[in-house]
Amino acid sequence: MTKGKVTSIIANLITVEVDGTVGQNEICYILHNQVRLMSEVIKIIGKTAYIQVFESTRGIKIGSDVEFTGQMLELTLGPGLLSRNYDGLQNDLDKLTGNFLKRGEYAYPLDEKKKYDFKPLVSEGDMLQAADWLGEVKENWIDHKIMVPFKYEGKGKVKSIAAEGSYTINETVAVLEDENGQTTEVTMVQKWPVKVAVTQYRNKPRPGILLQTGVRAIDTFNPMTEGGTGFIPGPFGAGKTVLQHAIAKNADADLIIVTACGERANEVVEIFTEFPELEDPRTGRKLQERTTIVCNTSNMPVAAREASVYVGMTLAEYYRAMGLKVLLLADSTSRWAQALREMSNRLEELPGPDAFPMDLSAIIANFYARAGYVVLNNGSSGSVTFIGTVSPAGGNLKEPVTESTRKVARCFYALAQKRADAKRYPAIEPIDSYSKYLEYPEFDRFAEDNICKGWVAMVQKSKDFVRRGAEAYDQINILGDDAVPIDYHVQYWKSEVIDFIILQQDAFDDIDQNSPIKRQRYMLEKVLFICDSEFDFQDFEEVSSFFKKAINLLKQMNYSRFESDEFVNYEKELDAFLTEKKI
């Protein structure tokens, strides 16, 4: 293997004089006081390799030895990835010793001793290709497929396959023979470079199936689909993380991968603490059983921050290849972009806008493109849905990360400071936000069959009510309460009903925090019924007090268990109240 010596050090950028071949993105280790510090090659000029160190570079000296590995940063993929807490380089954080992270301490991501009950899915003589399912083991409640390694080229014949029984992950479970007679032993573990997309599937059709998140402002107003992409930009304090956690808790996905990228450690601790306790609303099991966390918090080494989002994506793609519905959340992609900026700056590259690297939009586009709904080679389907948050500097959406992301993500959930200030949570701005999937005929068909007839039209109609309400509100503010016709007040208050009952949701209330689509439909119909009704008012003060009372009753419905006596009673009270004023 190639070796080298350190020739310069500026923060976490180090140059190395190498004695042999070296590859872009190759992983190497700096030897420093008996510790091996992991690094990645990011630029090569002649005999000089520029490497970014995934650790603190304190104390490193000129002339220190460097060993190259010939490998890019690769993930170890196999049963036992679920429910783990990894750092940005897939080290199992729970296995590390001591309270503080020690430099150069790395931990194997899987359990090499644990035995899994293997069930073969193929027979000798079957012809297979990369990502085909050989067998399966139980991992928590999911059937973890053991696949032909993604790196396997061409077709291979099953020469032998292990019988049903218990095996550790490193035992051979199958032997494949290619057309040249070359044999390959397959274990339950395989490796895959994080920066390369896993594309061993048949095709990637347009997504159209609703991915329920339990959040009304998303599911009803701007739906996300299985295999869709979306992003949540918002200034600090607008509730990005609370919203992402709400989605992680309630989303109708088989498994969730949360990448905490350059954000607060206490937010990850919240997941560590709550997810083992909270129940998955779909299966009744603990949320932790379907969740894997990749965390590189803001105080952990910057270079590993970039790696962490790729680690998350590769894990998601691996499970997608098993035919599962995976939801990948990244908080926040801006921190990742900033890590790129820090490095680009140290490399003295010519800067693009706001000193970000020029290829930022290409990097973001490539990353979002890895999500998607796919049909696997065996005809089953899987998906990676990706929702990233963006933390725009100064809350200004005209900045490079937001702009680059907007070009590629199909859903835009803009969090507005004004709504957050008014404690209207989730602070998703109803008029600026969008979901392109509402326009997809694929989604329309799905909604017709699975939600109700004319669903998309109902959603569009309620959006129009909100828009008209905003216009009326502007007029009232300009002209004054008295100077506008009563209709303006009615229009405004109808939009407030939609805002309070559909858009706002209490993420900290046990019942309100998760609203299944059936309940969302019921409430939308109820609210639209009010919006479509004509009422008899004497003056504008009557309008506001009438709607406030209606909103209060509807809110109590939101806080009650769906279709419970309580719920029905509030509804009766509401109906009676409405009838009084209705024309």
Binding site: F272, S298, Q338, A339, N552
Partner: protein, 441 residues
């Protein structure tokens, strides 16, 4: 901390000197190693082949090309022991109170991060008696939160008040660019409160060189880690003013020819600030580090890179504002936020806390709308009038920083004000709580 050992190699040939750095030929030097340049403390910030660049903390005024350079073979350190308590130190950790040197174990400052899986979820309330904080923006141990304040606001007074009322085992003050008057204010305030024996201060005043400030947070937090992680104590760290810390970062990065990003700040500002603030933690053995900082703003502009990056790192922010209607400084309920309050309110405090808090702020917001209407010359409705009357009471009895009561009393005051000004359905609180606590008709 800046002592030399015998038989050290002395370099005397500087090849480059800028306002903050110097460069010389040297070998066997470790990155981030400390050095002395003509007796002035310096740190290695760049090594290129055999050329080593040093950042000289006190500045390079008067340094000549034949200055004596001695490398100390170690990163910056602080000596930690129980005897730190009650003492005042410079940015280098040297006593400035005339007392003896500290005898203790040497620790590298700016040490490794806490493994996130070893952190515990913060869950202990820090009561300050100020309702604008305890009721609306409750603080929790292990939290990091700054005051965003204009330079003319009494942030240091509030900071000192909060520190003294909070029940902490140790209070560590990191003063960066503190005016000498403010330094003396803190000293007197702590001495008069009889709390000096639990207070440790690391002080860089405006009279000291600005680049020295870069050491202050790391010094303060390394000491904090000693007490919190090893002695399992509840440590409160006060950092004032972090804007001046960021300014020092910008000076150094500029002298190193780095390309500035937004507002002439270094591209790594976010990571630099995060390294400081993320030292706040709840340790598994019971100790905790809570950071309350001050970030001064320029005319309230929070979109500037310093408050903006800070806001993304810290767990909320507290805004002070003068309410001219009641003539008092209040904690702004709209712009202030404590992100960790959800962990304690309604759990460690009374069940109605979250809803009383939200209802109060929402009604106060209604009052602000009514006020806008009034200012624009529109007729006010009867509801508007009631909102405005409520706002006055709310400002005076809840938001003002001179309030000093228990959380239960704050909640009772909330219900009292709701009942005084509003009808039952206007409050918008869950029915079961209304039935239990509503004081009106």
């Amino acid at each position: 901390m800046v002592k030399t050992k015998a038989f050290q190699k002395i370099y005397t040939k500087l090849s480059q000197i800028t306002k903050a750095t110097c460069t010389l030929e040297a070998s066997g030097i470790g990155y981030e190693e400390m050095a002395l340049v003509d007796g002035r403390p310096a740190q290695v910030v760049k090594i290129f082949k055999n050329m080593v660049t040093l950042q000289i903390f006190p500045g390079t005024e008067g340094i000549s090309t034949n200055a004596e350079v001695i490398f100390l073979g170690r990163p910056p350190v602080i000596k930690v022991s129980e005897s730190l308590a009650g003492r005042f130190f410079s940015a280098y950790g040297d006593p400035i109170d005339g007392g003896p040197e500290i005898d203790g174990e040497e620790r590298e400052i700016g040490g490794p991060s806490l493994n996130p899986v070893r952190r515990k979820q913060p869950s202990e309330l820090i009561a300050t008696g100020i309702a604008g904080i305890d009721l609306n923006n409750t603080l929790v141990t292990g939290q990091k939160i700054p005051f965003f304040a204009d330079p003319d606001q009494p942030y240091n007074q509030v900071l000192a008040e909060v520190a003294l009322r909070a029940d902490a085992d140790k209070i560590i003050l990191g003063g960066m660019g503190l005016s000498n008057d403010d330094f003396l204010f803190f000293k007197d305030k702590f001495t008069n409160a009889g709390a000096l024996d639990k207070i440790i201060s690391f002080i860089n005043t405006t009279e000291n060189p600005p680049v020295e400030r870069l050491l202050v947070p790391d010094m303060a937090l390394t000491a904090a880690e000693f007490f919190a992680a090893e002695k399992n104590e509840k440590v409160l760290v006060l950092l004032t003013d972090m804007t001046l810390y960021a300014d020092a970062l910008a000076i150094v990065s500029n002298k190193m020819d780095q390309i500035p990003s937004k507002d002439s700040m270094p591209g790594s500002l976010y990571s630099d600030l995060a390294k400081v603030y993320e030292k706040a933690a709840q340790f598994p053995e019971g100790g905790s580090i809570t950071i309350i900082a001050v970030t001064t703003l320029n005319e309230g502009d929070i979109t500037h890179a310093i408050p903006d990056n800070t806001g993304y790192i810290t767990e909320g922010q507290l805004f002070l504002r003068r309410d001219t209607d009641v003539g008092k400084v209040i904690v702004d309920p709209f712009r202030s936020l404590s992100r960790l309050k959800q962990l304690v309110i309604g759990k460690k405090t009374r069940e109605d806390h979250p809803q009383v808090m939200n209802a109060g702020v929402r009604l106060f917001a209604d009052a602000m709308n009514s006020r806008t209407k009034k200012e624009n010359g529109f007729d006010l409705t009867e509801y508007d009038e009631r909102c405005l009357a409520f706002a006055l009471d709310y400002s005076r009895e809840i938001l003002a920083i001179d309030v000093n009561v228990s959380v239960d009393e704050m909640l009772d005051t909330g219900w009292k004000l709701f009942a005084r000004h509003f009808k039952r359905h206007e409050v918008g609180i869950r029915d079961d709580l209304m039935n239990k606590y509503w004081k009106g008709e």
